[in-house]
Symmetry: C2
Subunit: 225 residues, 2 copies
């Protein structure tokens, strides 16, 4: 994470990225004004600013704050939470509650995108295994959410921010998996709708049909029929 | 992370685990007394307590504090830092410095063990690719460390805790890679020796030759010649 010549708050992002959407939601919850810069890094060239500000991973999202770059979405969300603590705390104060939230955000980080990608990329046994694994992931998240309003209880928080961008990918996942997420995890789907009542989420999440079109572009790019 | 019937501080761990060693070093830095419970989970059965306290990943290390289980080593180290803040702070106070430390700890987490495993597991092209990638990882860490005493400067901290357990795996990595880590990353090797001057590290790290023997057991277990 290097120093770049950019003042204020800038987000290097890509519209459909669930990782970028986490940062946009956190910034919106905090009421932070920022400049959004679209980077088509999944399909095209990477800008010099992206390469300079994330030389290790060369990926969006990158948050640049007063010329300093912060990379990796969950680290960015924690940075936003710690830099603008005056409003909408995302992590609780209690160490155990913080560890619990970090555990589930980490679980989401490690599992959903990778397993979801196998749903549209693979055929045959690989596809069946991905479908079974994705079902297990949904069941675990459904169990953890339970009858709570949000993952941490009554307040929208870190785990919600980590997971909710994937709600606009659900249509693509279930279309390629051939299952209904509403049938497998009805509480999770209801939670997604509750989150969409928040302005921070509603104005950030991509249209599920545009995400589906984008997955179609990815499939062509990777030569998947 | 569920509730288990265990009071005080208990660490479920496996002697050679670099992830478990992170937790042991953090607890030693903080001067926390705890009960160590050896779990031979890499090679044998998992105890009911491990399965109950980490039902999602079913892996060591798990820290159980007053009956509450915390899982995933970097989350455990942050939990230890936040629960015993009176001494040896591992993460700095400044949000950007915290994000910077989290970035490098995350980089170490994602790269070293996975790439190091490919060094002893693979042959041919896969082995060459792992060797090249591991060299790149070492160079990045060498560059980030630079001429500093520890990764964050003068104080032993989060990134040091995340990385130093791998120092006792270096002998295995370089033997299977056929390179000298001291030649590739001399500052990193000197840093490892400085860390070994700390009691918390010296009493925790495994003997590199015992790690090498253990990797030999793993190779047999996975049918790798």
């Amino acid at each position: 994470m290097g120093e770049v010549d950019t003042k204020g708050v800038v987000l290097l992002d890509f519209w459909v990225s669930p990782f970028g959407q986490r940062c946009r939601i956190a910034l919106a919850e905090k009421g932070v004004e920022y400049e959004y810069r679209e980077e088509e890094n999944l399909l095209g060239d990477k800008s010099p600013l992206l390469l300079e500000s994330n030389p290790v991973h060369k990926k969006v999202p990158v948050l640049i704050h007063d010329g300093k770059a912060v990379c990796e979405s969950l680290i960015i969300v924690q940075y936003i939470d710690e830099s603008w603590p005056h409003r909408a705390p995302l992590l609780p104060a209690d160490p155990y509650a913080r560890a619990h939230a970090r555990f589930w955000a980490d679980f989401i980080d490690k599992k959903i995108y990778e397993c979801g990608t196998r749903l549209w990329k693979l055929k045959g046994e690989g596809h069946s295994a991905a479908k079974e694994e994705f079902t297990g992931i949904l069941k675990l998240l459904e169990g953890e959410l339970g009858d709570k309003k949000y993952f941490a209880g009554d307040a929208f928080g870190f785990v919600d921010v980590a997971l909710v961008p994937f709600v606009c990918w659900f249509y693509s996942f279930e279309t390629y998996a051939g299952f209904s997420i509403e049938e497998l995890a009805p509480k999770l789907v209801a939670w997604g709708k509750r989150c969409m009542e928040r302005e921070s989420v509603a104005k950030t999440l991509s249209d599920p049909h545009k995400v589906f079109e984008f997955v179609g572009v990815l499939k062509k790019r990777f030569g998947v029929e």
